[in-house]
């Protein structure tokens, strides 16, 4: 089984074709050289279709759409944009499109986009024309939910759709927390109970948290996992209280990081890539010794996977969209990209690693198509 990785970088998008043994066949690109590419996502409902979230340093944000597996691209006719502000309202403008999620399988052509400043947008025509999700963007509580952002601004990300119900949605906001809608986005409620927010005056606040990455398990959609600014969590619905499964990580490693990646079929198996969250938050591999950690029991225990990764002086940073699986149910292939422009492949569930590309620009996202 071959695989194609789409790599979004600060300077364009790259395509990495791999053979069945995960050897690199061809690295091609850059496409849109000089564009800041936050996300490139394939449509599982129509695999020839890909969407790319892009902007340049000076031009406004946009979305590109391909209907031939990334050979050619067309710009969205109406990129995500907030509605015109009424008199006296804060005028909001999309600064970047940060996240893309294909809609429910029953809603062909539907996509969601998360932006900075915090906004949620929906397209019903395959990503050509985007409309604000007013239920979130104009929610009366939104100004309280989202009061400040990351150094890169407020970020709406981790848009998840319950495969059993197209109207059941989750989003995450850095910084703001996890939010749930059960009516297709018309109304939203915080879902952060149990998550630490030790940077807030009230550590038990109902919102204001910093989820770095949240994922709903496609085969067990009552289960969500979260890599948060303050730990690794699991939530089993209909429960509402997150459990800090990162407590089982080695104490000297901690449970801070950006991505969290789920096994394609086993809801007990999850991978994380811990980063240094001590003191001034270096956000690099801890002590310069990168490692992936895997649980196969839903977070009761974790195992370090570092065979093939550098043993010392490797100060990697891996961003929230920059780690994925190849979607195989057996002998899962894992991939991650670093801000230093390297792509690493982990064979057999991450048992052994090797670098498959280097010298790329700063990597923002790695997705498998």
């Amino acid at each position: 089984m071959t695989a194609t990785l789409w790599i979004g970088t600060r300077k364009g998008a790259f395509r990495l074709r791999l053979d069945g043994r995960r050897r690199v066949c061809k690295l091609s690109g850059p496409q849109f050289l000089g564009h800041i590419v936050h996300h490139v996502v394939q449509d599982p409902r129509e695999p020839k279709i890909l969407l790319m979230a892009a902007k340049t340093g000076h031009l406004g944000p946009t979305v590109y759409r391909s209907s031939d597996r990334g050979r050619t691209w067309q710009e969205a006719g109406q990129p995500p944009a907030f509605r015109k502000a009424a008199t006296g309202e804060e005028p909001r403008a999309v600064e970047r499109v940060f996240w893309l999620t294909p809609g429910h399988p029953s809603e062909r052509g539907t996509w969601y986009a998360g932006t900075s400043p915090a906004g949620l947008f929906r397209s019903e025509d395959g990503g050509d024309r985007w409309q604000p999700v007013a239920g979130f963007n104009d929610h009366p509580m939104r100004p309280k939910w989202v009061t400040f952002g990351t150094p890169d601004g407020q970020l709406v990300h981790s848009v998840s759709i319950d495969p059993r119900d197209a109207k059941h949605l989750y989003i995450a906001i850095s910084i703001g927390g996890v939010f749930e809608s059960t009516d297709g986005g018309a109304d939203w409620a915080p879902l952060n109970e149990g998550c630490a927010a030790d940077f807030l005056p009230d550590p038990n606040a109902p919102y204001g948290h910093d989820p770095h990455c949240v994922a709903l398990h496609p085969a067990a959609p009552d289960r969500l996992y979260q890599q948060n600014h303050c730990g690794i969590y699991r939530l089993d619905r209909p429960g509402r209280r997150w459990v800090r499964i990162g407590r089982a990580m080695p104490q000297k490693t901690g449970d801070i990081g950006f991505p969290i990646v789920l096994h394609p079929s086993d809801p007990q198996t999850v991978w994380v890539l811990p980063m240094d969250g001590r003191t001034v938050w270096p956000r690099t591999s801890i002590d310069g010794k990168p490692a992936v950690y895997r649980t196969t029991d839903g977070g009761e225990s974790w195992r370090r996977l570092d065979r093939g990764l550098p043993r010392s002086q490797a100060w990697m940073t891996v961003l929230r969209q920059a780690m994925c699986t190849d979607g195989r149910a057996q002998r899962v292939g894992l991939y991650f990209g670093t801000t230093g422009g390297e792509v690493w492949a982990g064979a057999n569930g991450g048992e052994s690693w090797r670098c498959i590309a280097r010298h790329l620009p700063e990597i923002y996202s790695v997705t498998c198509a």
Binding site: H58, G60, A93
Partner: protein, 88 residues
């Protein structure tokens, strides 16, 4: 009213590589609308959804900086679109 718009290189993917475009309009807003009709999508890359000039874009009429899209443009004017970018 016909003027000339100077297109910076980051926007020439919309104009098939053309660095100057003749456009119509009595105001900057009308000139941009004229551009948008011919080169769909180009306006939004320069002007946000609140009709503000984007932070790293500057517009000039001849040598005077544009501060409002309602500013008049007269025949023979040159509208410059400048991409002001810093950083790596």
């Amino acid at each position: 009213m016909s003027c000339t718009v100077r297109i910076p290189s980051p926007l020439r993917s919309y104009t098939a590589g053309a660095a100057t475009i003749a456009a119509d309009g009595g105001t900057v807003e009308e000139v941009l609308a004229s551009l948008e009709r011919r080169f769909s999508g180009i306006r939004f890359r320069m002007i946000d959804e609140q009709s503000r000039i984007r932070p790293h874009i500057r517009l000039y009429i001849n040598t005077g900086e544009v501060t409002a899209l309602s500013q008049p443009v007269v025949a023979g004017d040159i509208v410059h679109v400048i991409c002001a970018l810093s950083g790596g």
